[in-house]
């Protein structure tokens, strides 16, 4: 009689289920705090880049600072793992005078979700982020309310290979329903292909506490600008307009596990794609010149 339990069970790590950030940590003792959870605090600086609406309407040499703070509690309940939390995200642009673009895009949202185990092979996440998505602290009104949500499933083929499929829904977005597929494949003991949005990566575990990676970050969110934005920027139809902001960064970085509950990430790279789209008003600024960027982040789980 033999047990056959421990062969390989411990390091599935499908945290990056779908549009989610993974949390890495060693054994943590949270006896002082009865709840489990995960957090992220990151900041990105993007150097001066350009966008254009057409050859005569360019916005040149503006930089960008992104900040994101996210805390999610993950208590275990009968039906799975509950996800309850909050997020503040802010894009701040150093735009020149007269540019018909908002200086700030930000959101305050709550996070309500559930991870459910449907079988020994399928885990499903349903998560919504109701909140205010607007262009600055001075414009907090209920008509800025939005409630994007996602539903994604992970198929655990084996401990080394998981397939991910999901949809992100945002009724205010230009394309309200965006499907996505991904794969998480442990190619070799030190190599991991984590090709799952929003941060597809190829990772190499240098030591127990340090990993190197190369990959991308995909950001896409919808906001509503204030009532006077159009008039003040010379395009009245942009008053109270919806803007979809998208960017893609490609780069390389490292994860340094400072303690069981804290991981520091540093990343540098190039931003090849950026798009401001007032799609309902048919005003779109697309990337004209890319820019280098650098990101620092603290994240972990408890």
């Amino acid at each position: 009689m033999k047990t056959f339990v421990p062969r390989s069970l411990v390091l599935v790590g499908c945290a990056s289920l779908f549009f989610a950030s993974s949390a890495l940590a060693e054994e943590t003792s949270n006896s002082f705090w009865p709840l489990s959870g995960e957090y992220t605090a990151d900041a990105t600086y993007v150097g001066e880049g350009d966008v254009e609406r057409n050859p005569r309407k360019k916005v040149s040499d503006f930089d960008e600072i992104d900040s994101d703070i996210r805390l999610v509690l993950t208590p275990r309940i009968k039906f799975g793992v509950l996800r309850l939390g909050a997020e503040w995200e802010r894009f701040s642009f150093g735009l020149p005078q007269g540019a018909a673009l908002p200086n700030t895009l930000q959101s305050f949202s709550t996070i309500i979700g559930l991870d459910m185990q449907f079988s020994d092979s399928i885990i499903v996440r349903a998560e919504t982020q109701p909140g205010l998505y607007n262009s600055g602290l001075g414009h907090l009104f209920w008509d800025n309310f939005n409630m994007p949500f996602l539903i994604g499933g992970t198929y655990i083929y084996s401990p080394d290979l998981q397939l991910v499929l999901g949809v992100s829904v945002d009724v205010e977005r230009k394309y309200p329903v965006l499907p996505a597929v991904g794969v998480r494949w442990k190619i070799a003991p030190q190599w991991l292909l984590d090709a799952v949005l929003p941060t597809p990566r190829l990772q190499y575990e240098l030591t127990r506490d340090v990993s190197l990676y190369a990959g991308a970050t995909v950001r896409d969110a919808t906001f509503r600008v204030d009532d006077e934005f159009g008039v003040s920027h010379g395009i009245p139809r942009l008053n109270h307009a919806v803007i979809t902001y998208s960017e893609i960064r490609t780069g390389a970085g490292f994860d340094w596990k400072i303690s069981p509950m804290v991981t520091f990430t540093g990343e540098v790279g190039y931003q090849p794609y950026r798009n401001f789209d007032f799609y309902r008003a048919e005003v779109r600024y697309h990337q004209d010149g890319g820019a280098p960027y650098g990101t620092i982040s603290l994240h972990g789980a408890f």
Binding site: F4, P6, R7, C14, E38
Partner: protein, 352 residues
């Protein structure tokens, strides 16, 4: 309806009446046996509703155990119906050889006598040449902090001496000595006599871990308390004689040597309880325990066995998993158990 349509004989033969009573009693008895097995299963396990006929036609049913407070603990329960009496199933479990199935990642398996010696670990020298075994050798040669040995055991390692091959002689000798000593202390003093894992980091005792696992699953602990009290699981040597073995296996791409002990005991009504404990591991996990309860049942007129299996494990790396990662690990553990049970059932039914 006309009474003649009932076509009842005027006088029911006395012998037929006797048969009817006997058959009725037998039927009632079997129904009670089935009901007892199912209700007993429901009383301590996660499976509160089981349809035996349906279960007999399906694969193994698995579910994660109740959530536990200790983050390094994980438990999965499973149940299935298999043809044959519990005694036959017990014997098949005892004889099953996992090394025949490469997907179970058991490289070496050897049964041990009640008084083991280093010679019983000779096979270590012929370990297969693969990445997990090479990692295991490298970790040993540098006495990696990941190795789960005591300080005293670590002091005994000597990297000197020759020997090539996948498992150099000093490495094989070191592990043969460690495993012999630990197997002997298990026989004489049970799990309580096992040296702690304190070579690097906090001191961990396998007996504390297994007791913690049982303490956090109170219904299971109560169901098996009498049986476990007669074993060496979680305390000193018990009255039941263990079947001992060691294995070299792959745990998350790392080679691990482990020591195990199996026990079983028959109970009233041809039921069985059994336990399989991995009371020592050189890495990957601290301790693993599998408990079995077997009941005789009749399904579609055939003698069968209802098997409940509870797998529980304590591992440092489980402590790092939160939220969906933990769900993922449970899923993988459930898949592994399903795979192992499916292979076992296929082998024991003679199918290939």
């Amino acid at each position: 309806m006309k009474s003649s349509a009932l076509n009842l004989p005027r006088q029911f033969p006395r012998y037929a009446c006797g048969w009817l009573v006997l058959v009725s009693l037998l039927f009632v008895g079997l129904t009670i046996a089935r009901a007892d097995a199912v209700s007993e299963l429901a009383s301590f396990s996660i499976f509160d509703k089981v349809d035996l006929a349906q279960l007999a036609k399906s694969d193994v049913k698995t579910a994660h155990g109740p959530p536990m407070r200790t983050s390094r603990f994980l438990a999965v329960q499973s149940c299935y119906v298999t043809p044959g009496a519990p005694a036959q199933q017990m014997e098949a479990l005892r004889r099953w050889d996992p090394t025949r199935h490469r997907e179970l990642k058991v490289f070496l398996h050897t049964d041990l006598p009640s008084s083991p010696s280093p010679a019983n670990f000779e096979k270590l020298k012929n370990a297969p040449d693969n990445s997990p075994v090479r990692s295991f050798v490298a970790a040993t040669q540098k006495l990696s902090p990941d190795l789960q040995v005591s300080k005293d055991e670590a002091r005994k390692f000597s990297a000197g001496g020759g020997g090539g091959g996948t498992m150099p002689a000093p490495v094989a000798t070191f592990w043969a000595d460690v495993l012999t000593s630990r197997a002997k202390s298990f026989v004489s003093g049970g799990m309580a006599a096992q040296p702690p894992y304190d070579h690097a980091g906090p001191s961990i005792r396998a007996s504390d871990e297994v007791n913690g696992l049982l303490r956090e699953q109170e219904k299971i602990r109560r169901q098996f308390s009498g049986f476990l009290g007669a074993t060496a699981i979680g305390h000193g040597a018990g009255s039941l004689r263990p079947e001992l073995y060691w294995e070299l296996l792959d745990v998350d791409d790392q080679g691990v040597v482990t020591l195990g002990a199996s026990y079983n005991r028959g109970g009233a009504g041809s039921t069985y309880q059994a336990a399989d404990v991995l009371y020592y591991a050189s890495g990957g996990y601290y301790v693993a325990l599998t408990l079995y309860q077997l009941w005789p049942v009749t399904v579609e007129g055939k003698p069968s066995t209802l098997v409940w299996r509870g797998d529980m494990i304590s591992a440092a790396s489980l402590g790092s998993l939160h939220g969906v990662e933990r769900l993922g690990s449970e899923s993988v553990m459930m898949k592994n158990i399903t795979k192992a049970v499916t292979l076992f059932r296929r082998d024991s039914s003679g199918g290939r």
